[in-house]
């Protein structure tokens, strides 16, 4: 038993060494949970990969495997990349967390970057984007723009990331429009165009004239366009083909700067394990062009808010804030700590309905 283990270890080390000697190029691997043609989450990660290729040209080689199921398949794909000489591997889905840690243990010389997770080690970094910063800007525009005072929200799964977005949008919509009401629909999918379209239609038919979505397809945009008199926001990618109406702005996942920077760090030998949670300030979260359908003053306010968030002058979760049940959460001027935000599992005061369990 021990002999096998030894042999395996030796063979793996050999494989690594030979691969490293073979070429001077830095090899970067990407593991995707969906197809690169999903037009949303995976699409944007792949854009980041292409940006790395563009930035470093001949000095870098990128590889990717798409549609990798979370679990043992992911572990195998990562191992395969590491065996074949990848120096840096980005694993771009929450469900890759444990596989990433497992594989990283076996390949201490390979650097891993896991998106949206919370487990780190010497050669595993985590990175995620503060999408809620963008949600704050959207909430502001939504609160100002709604005439029916009804905002529809297409939510995917009841996880902290999504709940954070709902809270952030609601806080800033209610701030400028105390009468605003949020209707939240859980579709239990990240990506199902037909279901997203149905959800958007249901919300619109019940009087929502602003649709926010935390799912990746453009189906809600199309539904809003068909209904008319409804505004929407792009999610994950810009969805600019629906501008200027219904899409009035968007949150764009912009992984390119991070991917370029981390690849550079590996080239320079300065890579170390970090926990990155970046937002508007570094450009990881981008606010897509606010279209002319938004009045100039609202647009100016929205941009000012984005700027203040980016400069660190304003935190979207600033007290006084109460939880939905009326209990105190943040005192006057107090801002939420990252720990609470990362595990957020409650609505703030004013949001109606329950988070499904």
């Amino acid at each position: 038993m021990k002999l096998t283990k030894l042999l395996t270890g030796a063979a793996m080390a050999l494989g690594l060494a030979s691969a490293a000697l073979a070429d001077e190029k830095v090899k970067v691997g990407f593991v995707y949970v969906g197809p690169v043609g999903d037009g949303g989450w995976t699409f944007e990660h792949n854009e980041g990969r292409l940006a790395v290729e563009e930035e470093f040209g001949d000095k870098v080689e990128t590889v990717y495997v798409e549609n990798v199921a979370e679990g043992p398949d992911a572990e195998r794909v990562m191992t395969q990349m590491a065996l074949e000489g990848a120096d840096l591997i980005f694993t771009t889905s929450f469900g890759y967390m444990d596989p990433t840690i497992n594989v990283a243990k076996k390949f201490p010389k390979v650097m891993f970057e896991h998106a949206t997770g919370y487990k780190r080690s010497d050669n595993v970094s985590t990175y995620s984007a503060r999408f809620y910063e963008g949600r704050a800007v959207q909430g502001h525009i939504a609160g100002k723009m709604t005439k029916s005072n009804t905002v529809g929200y297409i939510a995917s799964f009841p996880i902290p990331e999504v709940i954070r977005g709902i809270n952030s949008a609601y806080i800033h919509a209610a701030k400028v429009n105390p009468d605003v009401q949020f209707k939240v629909v859980w579709v239990y999918t990240w990506f199902d165009p037909a279901k997203e379209a149905d959800a958007a239609k249901a919300l619109i038919e019940q009087g929502a004239d602003v649709i926010l979505q935390h799912t990746d397809s453009t189906a809600p945009q199309a539904a809003a366009q068909e209904a008319g008199g409804v505004i929407t926001f792009g999610q994950a990618s810009d969805m600019s083909q629906y501008a200027p109406l219904p899409r009035v702005s968007s949150i764009i996942d912009n992984w390119a700067p991070y991917y370029v920077a981390r690849t550079k760090a590996v080239m320079d030998g300065t890579w170390e394990s970090v926990d990155t949670w970046d937002g508007i300030s570094t450009g990881m979260v981008k606010i897509g062009e606010i279209s002319d359908a938004v009045p100039a003053d609202v647009k100016a306010e929205a941009l000012a808010m984005a700027k203040a968030i980016g400069a660190g002058e304003y935190h979207p979760f600033t007290g006084p804030l109460k939880k939905q049940d009326g209990s105190d959460w943040l005192g006057d001027g107090e801002t939420a700590d990252d720990g609470t935000l990362a595990g957020m599992n409650f609505y703030v005061e004013g949001v109606e309905g329950d988070i499904p369990q």
Partner: protein, 360 residues
């Protein structure tokens, strides 16, 4: 005009040769496809079929073949019993999920107690969960004559919703910061389906898969029940005269295939996958149906077919990573392989004859 003539006996030679011919044909057509997509066809074929077995890193991929192939074989063996008797369980995916849920549920209920009896209990639970899920279509068929194809398929979607509900609710890891998914059983020694020999890929599920192959072989060839199964499939009326009780046969076939699918789910969740999560099931239950047919519903054939499917999955991933082939190209390639294997099976049972005038 080509005419088909039924052979008096299925041809032994062709039943051995067709899989090889099919693989070669797939290599030619698939190679052409890869060529069109701008990849060197020879390199692609070599990467898919050769590298996992004999390439530089075969020491890693060979065990992975067992890990990937074991659930396929385990499920397909169970399905083949029913298929032989004309009982169509196409809901193994659902039984796989429920088996994993029950098994993992038992393990999680004991957490953090460490005791020797936990894992055996989980195994029983997994088999029981799959059995119960398959017993629903079985009982409905026996009692009401309901079509088992549809009921078992519908129950897959019901099981998927249960899975989502459990990952987000009851089984959610209390220390998981609100993210969906259960505790990782790999970190809970008493519930962990470990590799029996480190680095070999041999976990208990693989052992069970081999046992299932032997069990099915003996059952079909040496046992009265196996004879009844074959008879029912080939000549249902004769079977009734021979004293076969259809109700018992239905319960046995569906129940066994459900239990095996449940076991596959349990071994997967407690071993390679580690946790219950929304996307826990990755289609083994459906792929196993194809594996069962590729193996001609014969235990040894299924073993080989499971290995072949696992090979194309793993080789396909390597081809994506190394050669930049899109995942879709691999899917098409697998589709082609299945088409050729299915189509060429014709030669086992029929002779091709050139005929003049008359059309079949």
């Amino acid at each position: 005009m080509i005419r088909l003539e039924k052979r008096p006996q299925p041809s032994q030679t062709w039943s051995m040769a067709t899989p090889l011919v099919a693989v070669v044909a797939t290599m030619i057509f698939g190679g052409a496809l890869f060529g069109v997509l701008g990849t060197n066809p020879l390199a692609a074929i070599r990467t898919i079929f050769f590298d996992p077995l004999f390439g530089e890193f075969a020491f890693y991929y060979r065990p992975q073949l067992l890990v990937k192939g074991a659930p396929l074989v385990l499920i397909a063996i169970g399905l083949s019993l029913g298929f032989k008797a004309g009982i169509w369980n196409i809901g193994a995916e659902g039984q796989y999920i429920i088996g994993a849920l029950v098994g993992a549920g038992i393990g999680l209920a004991f957490y953090p107690l460490e005791a020797w009896y936990i894992f055996p209990l989980m195994i029983l639970g997994g088999a029981f969960g799959g059995f119960v899920w398959a017993a629903i279509p079985a009982l409905l068929k026996v009692r009401f004559g309901t079509n088992e194809i549809l009921v078992s398929l519908m129950l897959v979607y019901v099981a998927e919703q249960f899975l989502a509900s459990m990952s987000l609710g009851l089984m959610k890891n209390p220390e998981g910061f609100g993210f969906p998914g259960s505790r990782n059983l790999q970190e809970y020694a008493s519930a962990h389906n470990t590799e029996l020999i480190a680095g070999s890929g041999m976990h208990l599920g693989v052992v069970f898969a081999f046992i299932a192959v032997i069990f099915a072989y003996v059952l079909l060839n040496r046992h009265m029940l196996g004879f009844q199964i074959r008879l029912t499939g080939e000549a249902p009326r004769a079977a009734r005269f021979a004293g076969v009780k259809p109700a018992r046969l239905i319960l046995f076939c569906l129940g066994t295939s459900g239990a095996l699918a449940g076991l596959a789910g349990l071994f997967e969740v407690s071993g390679p996958a580690g946790q219950i999560n929304i996307d826990f099931n990755v289609g083994y239950g459906f792929t196993a149906i194809i594996v069962a047919f590729l193996g001609r519903l014969h235990p040894v054939g299924i073993l080989l077919a499971g290995g072949l499917m696992a090979l194309t999955y793993i080789g396909g991933e390597i081809a994506q990573g190394q050669l930049g082939l899109p995942a879709a190209a691999i899917q098409v390639f697998q589709g082609m392989l299945l088409f050729f294997l299915l189509a060429l099976d014709l030669l086992t049972n029929f002779r091709l004859r050139l005929a003049k005038g008359e059309v079949a």
